[in-house]
């Protein structure tokens, strides 16, 4: 049986930034971006249908922003693993808000593979409550 790639859903309204982040994810072996959502509403739909291993969620977006999307995903699909992306990720109140709302990590934007790598590794180490979890890096 082949090993399953670690799947990521990117949520970012900035197309150029999203493209950069797809490249960064691709630098990690065994990691695959399975979709890109442009706002929180699209993120809810894609998380429900694609069931990714990790969601990389931007906070500042038009319409339904990342703060709302984080709260709704954790309410409706509490097993979802979400890492927040923000240019304000180092601010304690942002980190605390995201942690309290269920985010597994808060990462600086723009994303680097050295920051994402440990988050993916930690996710692979934990036992996933759904799916077969047959991942390799």
């Amino acid at each position: 049986m082949g090993a399953k790639a670690f799947s990521i859903l990117l949520v970012d309204d900035d197309e150029l930034m999203a493209r950069e982040h797809v490249k960064v994810c691709g630098e990690l072996p065994g990691v695959r971006v399975i979709g890109v959502a442009k706002n929180g509403a699209e993120a809810l739909k894609l998380v429900k249908t694609m069931d990714p291993d990790l969601v990389l969620l931007d906070l500042v977006m038009p319409d339904v922003d990342g703060f709302v999307a984080l709260r709704l995903l954790m309410r409706g699909l509490p097993d979802t693993r979400i890492a927040v992306l923000s240019s304000r990720a180092e601010e304690p109140d942002i980190r605390e808000h995201c942690r309290q709302n269920g985010a597994v990590a808060t990462l600086m934007k723009p994303l680097s593979s050295s920051a994402l790598g440990p988050v993916v590794a930690a996710e692979l180490r934990r036992e996933r409550p759904r799916g077969d979890g047959n991942h390799v890096l």
């Binding site: 706002n39 929180g40 509403a41 809810l44 739909k45 998380v47 429900k48 038009p62 319409d63 339904v64 709302v68 709260r71 709704l72 995903l73 309410r75 409706g76 699909l77 509490p78």
Partner: protein, 123 residues
């Protein structure tokens, strides 16, 4: 003469342009469609029959009206259709100005579309 209150005017979406709604409750996230919408609330056709005990429960909704930006609001489940247990009536709680504006635009758009259709039929 009969005057319908503006905020209670309920408008149905067209078949071609449905209203998509993400319905979020505890451990439940479902993409459903609206049966009708007003400034005060929305009726949704659910994919599953909900327990009547949920009346009064607050839920989160992300509403996507055709051609308009999606918005989030909270709502309280008010009633279930007596003839069809899959349709639930939800009253908005804390609808934002942005949400209200989107609903008003949608209602006006539907009213315009209906009067144009009437003119075409009679013309």
């Amino acid at each position: 003469m009969f005057f319908e209150r503006r905020d209670s005017l309920r408008v149905k979406p067209s078949m071609r342009e449905p209203i998509e709604v993400q319905f979020v409750a505890a451990k439940m996230l479902d993409l459903v469609h609206a049966v009708d919408v007003s400034e005060r609330g929305i009726a949704l056709r659910m994919n599953v029959r909900l327990d009547a005990k949920l009346i009064g429960t607050e839920v989160d909704l992300v509403i996507s009206l055709p051609g308009l930006p999606s918005f989030h609001t909270r709502g309280a489940i008010r009633r279930f259709s007596p003839t069809d247990g899959y349709v639930v009536g939800i009253k908005f709680v804390g609808l934002t100005a942005k949400g209200l504006e989107a609903i008003r635009s949608f209602i006006e758009h539907r009213a315009d579309a209906r009067s144009s259709a009437r003119i075409r039929l009679s013309g």
